[in-house]
């Protein structure tokens, strides 16, 4: 497109008419995008200021900021907010930290590297619900689980992970799903490092740790920031893993913001309250996005 227009004169009637044609050609897709994103947003905003409960038709009409007031003063909301951030931060830490180390490891030559690489990537291809069920019933189940059997084999009492450490266990499952993504991106980044740079560092007397710290890690900076940004966007909306394993419990111990909104809307049928939660989630996601995009953009410029 750009290449075609570059040859037309920059000013005058021709330029104006090409501009108008451009707008005309763009308008259908812009219109669809507007409808796609604006309509749900406006509806959510509208419901969030309405009294609207699916099982109580008598309760209706304008609610003002009541829905928001109830939500923000609810201790469950603060708990869910905290859980959301703990979950995001924990998974990021495990997947980026572990991913960096694994990427460096899988960059080395060793026997069976091809198969090992495929295996480390494979969790990424498993659906979230399936992997959560696998962990819940196959690996961590206090009676049938593989880990329980292993613990019994060495004389320990099995732990009911999902009941004792619900949030940590969900975090572990999600980290297991996202580690491959980090490894995949970071491995390609490690491989793009110029071999002569590593050799120059060796000639400069840098051992493996100094090479990792001063050569490989700075080289990975961009890739790490991209992984952090993409993962954060997805991790803010974790739902399936919680729904399948703990259903947010016990109590609200493993409830995050998306799950709280879901339980308000479809377990308590409070559409108004859930919409208020949705609006808060949008605001939080945007705040995070602004910081992230800024940080990443700065990193990509350098």
């Amino acid at each position: 497109m750009q290449a075609v227009f570059e040859h037309s004169p920059p000013a005058g009637a021709t330029a104006r008419s090409t501009k108008r044609t451009g707008f005309l050609l763009l308008s259908p897709s812009v219109l669809i995008l507007l409808v796609w994103s604006i309509v749900p947003l406006v509806m959510t905003l509208w419901y969030s200021v309405q009294n609207y409960n699916l099982v109580d038709p008598t309760l209706h009409g304008f609610a003002g900021i009541d829905n928001y007031w109830y939500l923000l003063t609810d201790p469950d909301f603060l708990h869910a907010l905290l859980n959301t951030f703990v979950l995001v931060a924990g998974v990021l830490l495990i997947s980026v930290g572990g991913g960096t180390l694994l990427a460096v490891l899988y960059d080395q030559e060793f026997f069976g590297r091809g198969i090992a690489r495929i295996m480390v990537i494979s969790p990424f291809f498993i659906m979230p619900t399936v992997s959560a069920l696998l962990w819940k019933n196959l690996m961590l189940h206090p009676i049938y689980g593989v880990y329980s059997a292993m613990m019994r084999a060495v004389g320990l009492t099995p732990i009911d992970w999902l009941a004792r450490f619900p949030l940590m266990t969900v975090m572990m499952i999600v980290a297991w799903e996202w580690l491959p993504f980090a490894v995949l991106i970071l491995l390609t980044a490690v491989q793009s490092l110029d071999g002569e740079q590593r050799e120059a560092a060796r000639m400069d007397g840098a051992g493996p740790i100094a090479r990792f710290r001063y050569i490989i890690l700075p080289h990975l900076g961009r890739a790490i920031s991209v992984v952090v940004m993409i993962e954060t966007i997805y991790l803010l909306t974790i739902f399936a893993e919680i729904s399948v394993t703990t259903a947010g419990g016990p109590g609200v111990a493993s409830t995050n913001l998306p799950y709280l909104i879901y339980s308000r809307a479809l377990l308590q049928f409070d559409v108004g309250g859930a919409s208020a939660g949705g609006v808060v989630a949008i605001v939080i996601a945007n705040i995070v996005a602004i910081f992230l995009v800024r940080a990443v953009a700065r990193n990509l410029e350098a």
């Binding site: 110029d194 050799e199 120059a200 000639m203 840098a206 001063y214 050569i215 700075p218 080289h219």
Partner: protein
């Protein structure tokens, strides 16, 4: 400064031997150039000396110490890579500082050293630029500076000028030679460019397929190539070769019969060769003389005029082409018949196994 000694160095990669037993000794302050066609093993040999490649067998001695199993950083060497291999996230100062910092040198000493080197290489205005902001020649200088600050016993260069354009390459060649004179450091330099080899080296090592073909000063290689490979590799345009029949020889020289029946008496010894053996005669284009009439005539097929010199390609009656380098102002045209004179003292004779006959008199510049 230091000496380097290679004793029957070998390198096997999987099942293929790529360095087939190289012995060589490099003196203090010497500028040694490894030269050869691509794939000859010259870079591998350099990397073995650097410690970036394992040595399969043989000994590598630096200053008389065996260093086969010493880490690259502890051998007291510095290397300049073909891609410069500067650390892109560090500025020029930090690039040069990296090795010193790892060696635990105090801050003040590091600063003094880096500033001194930056002054020598005219890098002072760029000390706080990142490599990405520098031109090719400047990056090259930073890479050299990073090597110099470490005050190594031996400098290793791996085709350092091949990424520069022709004009800059010529300039850096002169700068490197001057720098070597100033620092007086033992230097090993790998290149495939024979101009670099001829102009900079004290000693050239010609390699082919993991074997040393000849070791000698640039003019020794030019005037007294040990075999056909070196004769063909050194010199541009390359030496002309044609076959002849060996007739006999004595202490004063050897006689060969050329294809057209004429006899050439070349001042080289020929111990133990039987008359009637097929030999190869070699003569450089710059030594063949052009005459308008006489024996040994052929037809001019191509003329390349380079201004100062002219290259005349002459098709001989037996079908072979002989290239003659002559004056830029020569009037000869294509399709004309010319006669060639082969001055015997500039001819080389090669036995069927490719080895050159020993010259009766060494060239004064190649003694």
């Amino acid at each position: 400064m230091a000496t380097v000694e290679l004793k029957n160095l070998r390198k096997t990669y999987l099942t293929e031997e790529i360095i087939k037993g190289i012995s060589l000794s490099i003196e203090e302050r010497e500028f040694v150039v490894f030269v050869g066609p691509s794939g000859c093993g010259k870079s591998t040999l350099l990397r073995m000396i650097a410690g970036l490649e394992d040595i399969t067998s043989g000994d590598l001695l630096i200053d008389g110490q065996r260093v086969n199993d010493v880490e690259p950083g502890k051998r007291g060497l510095a290397m300049v890579f073909q891609s410069y291999a500067l650390y892109p996230h560090m500025d020029v100062y930090k690039n040069m500082e990296f090795g010193l910092k790892l060696a635990g040198m105090p801050e003040a000493e590091r600063r003094a050293k880096i500033e001194h080197v930056a002054r020598t290489l005219q890098l002072e205005p760029y000390l706080h630029h990142k490599p990405g902001q520098l031109s090719g020649g400047q990056r090259q200088r930073v890479a050299i500076g990073r090597a110099i600050v470490r005050n190594p016993k031996v400098f290793l260069f791996d085709e350092p000028l091949s990424n520069l354009d022709a004009a800059l390459r010529g300039q850096m060649r002169v700068e490197l030679s001057a720098l070597h004179r100033k620092l007086g450091a033992t230097t090993i330099y790998v290149t495939h460019d024979q101009v670099e080899a001829m102009t900079m080296a004290d000693k050239i090592v010609v390699l082919q397929k993991g074997v040393v073909e000849q070791i000698g000063s640039p003019l020794e290689l030019y005037h007294h190539p040990r075999n056909l490979f070196v004769a063909r590799f050194i010199g541009s345009p390359p030496m002309n070769f044609f076959s002849a029949i060996f007739q006999g020889g004595d202490a004063a020289g050897s006689s060969v019969q050329l294809r057209d029946g004429s006899t050439l008496h070349v001042p080289v010894t020929s111990p133990g060769l039987l008359p009637g053996t097929k030999v190869t005669v070699g003569i450089r284009p710059e030594h063949v003389e052009l005459a308008s009439s006489g024996p040994n005539s052929g037809v001019v097929e191509v003329i390349e005029r380079l201004g100062a010199i002219t290259l005349v390609h002459v098709r001989m009656p037996d079908g072979e082409i002989i290239v003659v380098q002559t004056d830029g102002a020569v009037l000869t045209d294509v399709e004309t018949r010319v006669s060639l004179t082969l001055p015997p003292r500039n001819c080389h004779l090669f036995a069927p196994d490719g080895l050159a006959f020993e010259a009766c008199h060494r060239h004064p510049l190649a003694a």
